[in-house]
């Protein structure tokens, strides 16, 4: 479980996060939505330890990440997997080398055991037989899959996905969403997804946090979104005339 308690972050005079608190449960796809500049990327980076918050607590299974000693912090980091917006694959390494890297860094397995594990996760994300390919030879969707394989190779307890659907066509987006949801439930991972993609939110969002101007403006689940009368949320989610009509139609049904 990931708990955020009153997270604040300032860059100079500008306060980007203004006291956000939330709880992200394991086995659920937790989504952070919001417009560009709303602070959702900074919030995710505070959770994975890339940006130190000005104040507040990030609790991973009850342990305050920023108060831990270096060794304990390292142990926690090994339980964190992250899928980056641009996949962040190492371009000079093959698919296999990218996925095996965390194992080489942190596990004491033999080489054959590591390769077995790599093949298992590549099969899980539907990329068997692509071990020798380089990131430049893969499509955007395949690169995301490799990113997911690398993120889950150490059996993480927490999976963070930053804009997993950016740059992907709708069909590939649906497949990536389904994969994230399956993995979350299969391995009981606390998954946090940053996204603009409302299709993803409505498909796989178990818990949704709407960030606006660095604050938590709304939280709930995908059914609640349709019933919400929060004007800022409605303006963001149902931005077009078509979506507004869709919302009123669904609300009536519900």
């Amino acid at each position: 479980m990931i708990e955020l308690k009153n997270i604040r972050k300032s860059f100079g005079d500008q306060e980007v996060l203004k006291g956000i608190s939330a709880t992200f449960m394991p086995g659920k796809v937790n989504m952070i939505i919001g417009a560009s500049g709303s602070g959702k990327s900074v919030l995710m980076k505070t959770m994975v330890g890339l940006i130190v918050p000005t104040s507040g607590e990030v609790l991973l299974n009850g342990q305050n990440f920023y108060l831990l000693e270096d060794e304990a912090k390292k142990e926690i980091r090994e339980k964190i997997g992250m899928l980056f917006q641009g996949s962040a694959l190492f371009s000079s390494m093959s698919v296999e080398e990218n996925v095996i890297l965390p194992l080489k860094m942190f596990s004491n397995r033999s080489k054959s055991e590591m390769l077995d594990r790599v093949n298992t996760v590549l099969e899980r994300v539907g990329l068997s037989g692509n071990n020798r390919k380089f990131p430049s030879e893969l499509s955007g969707g395949m690169q995301k899959r490799v990113g997911i394989a690398r993120a889950i190779v150490l059996n993480p307890s927490y999976l963070f996905c930053d804009e997993p659907n950016s740059g992907l066509d709708p069909l590939t987006s649906i497949k990536i969403d389904a994969l994230i949801q399956e993995i979350t439930q299969e391995f009981n991972i606390a998954t946090v997804v940053n996204t603009h993609d409302m299709n993803s939110v409505m498909e796989i969002g178990d818990y949704i946090l709407f960030a606006h101007n660095g604050e938590k403006a709304w939280e709930g689940n995908k059914t609640d979104i349709l019933l919400s009368d929060n004007p800022i949320l409605n303006q963001f989610v149902f931005a077009t005339q078509f979506l507004q009509e869709f919302k009123s139609a669904r609300s009536k049904k519900l």
Binding site: G49, R77, Q85, S91, M105, R150
Partner: protein, 245 residues
């Protein structure tokens, strides 16, 4: 003030770099790849530049030594001393700062802007040590070797052009070179090579590692890396000469 800010950050980065690597096998792989890139990848340009430098030095020295009472072997002595003392270690490392410095800064910079460094940090890897330490170690080994290679080719180029154009025979060249050779000259050139190689790898890495932005900033960092490396090489050339000669 900005100088002190960057100098402090540079020292803090070095503090992170010189930590025990998390994985010995990955360090070795990266070290060997860096040795190949820095050493073999630069051998061609070093060969061309040093051969021509030796040739031009011989021709120009002969042009200036017009007095008939000066023995021709003096040309060999001057070419050999200037090659070992200054041309190979300093001029060659300035060339290498351009090639290796920009390469390191743009490689690390691209990794930074494409979030590859963030990916390493999230995994719990000390990205500074993982990326920069193998490059510094490889530079400390390969650049001095390239300088020795350049010294040899400078002398060979000078000797050949002297012989072919009739300025002086190979025997006269070798006699002149041996008459004034002092082992300390060679040691001094190696001290220079080690010093410069450390600065080339570390300053270029610092420039790449601290990029914020995109492709334009990668280009800027690459240019800055070359300029700063060149200035630092020239400055430390003067300081080392003042201290050790």
């Amino acid at each position: 003030m900005r100088f002190f800010y960057h100098f402090g950050n540079y020292l803090m980065l070095l503090q992170r770099v010189f930590k025990k690597p998390e994985s010995g096998s990955l360090f070795r792989e990266s070290f060997v790849r860096s040795c190949w890139d820095i050493g073999i990848g630069s051998a061609g340009i070093v060969a061309i530049v040093s051969l021509f430098t030796g040739m031009v030095t011989t021709v120009q020295t002969a042009y200036q030594l017009v007095a008939s009472f000066i023995p021709k072997s003096t040309i060999g002595a001057i070419v050999s001393d200037s090659s070992i003392l200054e041309l190979a270690p300093t001029i060659m490392t300035l060339v290498l700062a351009g090639k290796i410095g920009s390469n390191i800064a743009s490689e690390i910079g691209t990794m930074k802007v494409s979030e590859q460094i963030d990916a390493l940090e999230v995994m719990g890897v000390n990205s500074a040590s993982f990326l920069i330490l193998p490059k510094i170690c490889a530079a400390l080994i390969m650049i001095p070797l390239l300088v020795v290679f350049a010294e040899i080719l400078c002398l060979v180029g000078g000797m050949l052009v002297g012989d072919i154009t009739g300025i002086l025979t190979s025997d006269e060249f070798i006699q002149g070179a041996r008459s004034t050779f002092m082992p300390f000259t060679f040691y001094f050139s190696m001290i220079k090579a080690f010093t410069y190689s450390f600065f080339i790898a570390s300053v270029a890495s610092y420039q790449g590692y601290n990029i914020t932005g995109g492709a334009r900033e990668v280009g800027e960092a690459s240019t800055k890396a070359v300029v700063y490396c060149c200035v630092i090489i020239l400055l430390s050339d003067y300081i080392l000469a003042q201290l050790l000669l």
